[in-house]
Amino acid sequence: MYPSTFTYYRAGSVQEALKLLVENPDAKLLAGGHSLIPAMKLRLASPSALIDISRVPELAGIRDAGDRIVIGATTRYDDIQRSELVRQVLPILPEAIDVIGDLQVRNMGTIGGSLAHADPAADLPAVVLALGAELKAVGPDGERTIPADQFFVDLFTTALQPNEILTEISFPKPPARTGMSYQKFANPASGYAVVGAAAVVTLGEDGKVAAVRVGVTGAGPYAVRRQNVEQALVGQEPTAAAIEAASQLASEGMTFNSDIFASDEYRAHLTRVFVKRALTRAVERARG
């Protein structure tokens, strides 16, 4: 509850934040602070300095970029949830944000903070995987784009370098007849995902599955896409039986976490169940 001593910097721009990062190699970026500060209070993290990027103007905001929607890294959950554009085009985001923490958490927490932190039980990682998002980062060597599929690397570990800043998350606008859903089994103590499954399904004019992406969080050390499930469904009539059969594959080839609330075996089971539920709902929505 009492962090060790640190220096606080408030960055006015991305460039300033980058400069501070170079000067303070032991520093941490501070966005909403809702993962970092609890960790510091428990002394699980003891950075020598914090670089507050939450007020850098160019890092926040939601914009319509033609065939994409771009959300700045420090955009707060609450602002995403209230965005009419997001509600129309990417309704899975507000659906998932709705089950993140409580109001205070949603007022403070940022999308970039959640993704960069890569908590194994965080919700949004599954969603960005299912939406096929791209994450943009800047570092001393310039800018690069990381596909969501390559972003989550391990427990609390992403493809970001320590001196890189995640600046924005860019989502392709989904085609017609797309339905999406996030289904979460929340831990009753923490509210985090024991298992969370995100599914985005596009149906062809024939009613068969034209495209599908599935992301799973909570179950293992980091959020993963479930291509085996996707492949089993593409080109299929999305009947209950087909969804059930495909979902059975959801736990294959994964490693699972285990804790006092849910064993690995149970998490594997929940993964199958929640992938099925997310797919079922996404298909319902795709059908309109």
């Binding site: 509850m1 009492y2 001593t5 428990l42 002394r43 103590a189 923490s190 849910a262 929940l270």
Partner: protein
Amino acid sequence: MAVTKLFGAAIKRREDPRLITGRGNFTDHIRLPGTLVMAIKRSPHAHARIVRIDTSKARAMRGVVAVYTGQDLVDKLAPVPCAWLIPDSDLKLTPYRAVAVDKVRYVGDAVAVVVAEDRYVAQDAVEAIDVEYEVLPAVVDQEKAMEPGAPQLYDEIPNNLAFHWKLHVGDFDAVWNEAEVRLSRRLINHRLIPTAMEPRGALAAYNPGSGELTIWCTSQNPHVHRLLLSAVTGLPETRIRVIATDVGGGFGSKIPMYAGEMIAAAISRDLGRPIKWIETRQENYVATIHGRDHIQYVDIAARRDGTITGVRVRAYANMGAYLSTAAPGVPTWLFGLMLQGAYAIPVIHCDVYGVLTNTTPTDAYRGAGRPEATYLLERMIDILARELGMDPAEIRRKNFIPKDRFPYTTPTGLQYDSGDYEATLNRALELVDYANLRRQQAELRQQGRYIGIGFSTYVEVCGLAPSQAAGAMGFQGGLWESATVRVHPTGKVTVFTGSNPHGQGEETTFAQLVADELGVPFEDVEIIHGDTEMVPFGMGTYGSRSTAVGGAALVAACRKVKEKAQRIAAHLLEVSPEDLAFENGRFFVKGAPDRGMTFQEVALQAYLAWKLPRDIEPGLEATHFWDPVNNTFPFGCHICVVEVDPETGKVDFLKYVAVDDVGNVINPMIVDGQVHGGIAQGLAQAVYEYAAYDANGQLLSASLMDYAIPKASMLPSFTVDRTVTPTPVNPMGVKGAGETGTIASTPAVVNAVIDALAPFGIEHIDMPLTPERIWRAVRERSS
């Protein structure tokens, strides 16, 4: 005609505006100049010998004022006391040093103490202390702790057995041999963490000039803490003042005398400066008591018609590493005496083993012993009902103590004061629409949906008293309560109560009682509690006793005041006291209502004393120490309706009906609040909360990220109703409402879940009924 009658009025709690706008006066809010901050270094091992403690780095840190080890405090503090010395149980006391000297016995045991200029430095210094341990094997499970070869916590306590308590009434073997039905089961009532919103803490300020110690702390019973602090520090009681006015919940966890508060007092005395110590939530989870943790072997003897003829219980109570202040009484008296519950069971046979393990000490937690007894009975009666193909409501009805048998002397020697158990069952059945619900259940099962209906018909003992009984049970204290009612010259009233509400709302209910008794406006009554310098003496708030015992003391004191006021009024009105009537705060001559005086006018005359006769002392104030003749026994019926998703094991709550009888009700809104909170806590035991240790004695659920206290979204909406059967034990006819919800709800919820799972052939799952446990049970039966 009493137009101002407040008894029964749902007045909003007057303490709430202060508390919910952040203007409470909690221990951590008190600021004294020159205060130093204390932090405790705690053992990371469950069982280890302390080889060496190196405090040099910590001492050298800037801002660190002092560092103490256990050895440094040996002469300054006596061991942490245990005050419930149950007789005839071969009780062995555990030498419990506030700061461990040679050995640590649980994760969280104190090993060193830092005093620093601020809390951050103190924490840095705690981390800089280097302790070398020789780690010993640990034992966590109470049954394993009794096995030969198990790690021994104390050389002088063989097999870790702190006590063996027996209560054998009637010939159980005979009943068992004759029984038409015999059931034997092992039940686990798991460990819980009380989780009061405000963690524990103390601000101890010793004044070297006057030799006085003032200590603000989180206490349910400040006078008891003063007495115990006097015993451990050697300071006379007259030199100790304990203040605990606003306390943010306790649930029993703020009854015991703890190391932290003792250390703060000793160090303040040593350094001559105020010392503040406030627990972190993590400390709270390891160093404040836990509750429950029973393993029970139960035998039930019955006839085919459902009549229970005897109960035998062998219980293993996990006491943790030391015997906490009231701990030995909880799994013994508070459990064993209630083993007949609401039923006319003639034969009770109970053996309780109090076992020491390398875990946080356990003690009274909301319900304390009674939930363990109630759960056992309510679970077993359901199992019996299923065995016999009886309806769970009907088997209960069959066994109820009938209403014409009150007062009812139980085989365990209690006298149940008053009751009509069937009335609560009938009302609850009606509210839940039972017949319809069963029909619906059958229909839904056809569709593969599983709803369950769970009952709990309980009786509990509260208003803990009387003192004679306390003495016979080895409780090192009285169980009366005191109240002083001081009427000021203006007729305004200050009440000093020995109860110490910390969430129960007595600042409101007590003012209602006084306003009614004295006929003064509610706003004119001030309730003072939680300060040993102001209140003559008090036993404190626990065991649902504040209103039944503390309230009774208050009413008795009011009646003394009124009697004196009446004598004064009679004198001034030149009539005899019997000629006066009292209504709406005014004395008047019977038959001549114009001739009278208001209570306020009498109060003024009492203080002016211009016209008082020689045999009436000036002033208007009275004190009463109320020692009731008996406990009170609230009862009721709770019915829970759930739906279980067999695919995930998740439980959804559909309905919750609680019909309680707590006697007369002073403030229905406050009683509803107590019932709601109690149900939430008891329901949480059934499905959410679980203090889990690994085999090495590490607490795995050591934070709110892992320990699932219930949030509003995790609870159903409660339908709360009451029947009213007043108790003859006190003048108000009130019983007590603080623990009914916790005691009743746990088995109602478990019974509902098991009922839902009946089609799978599941007869029992041990708590907590987490989704995974339910899923496993279903999977096992389905395959």
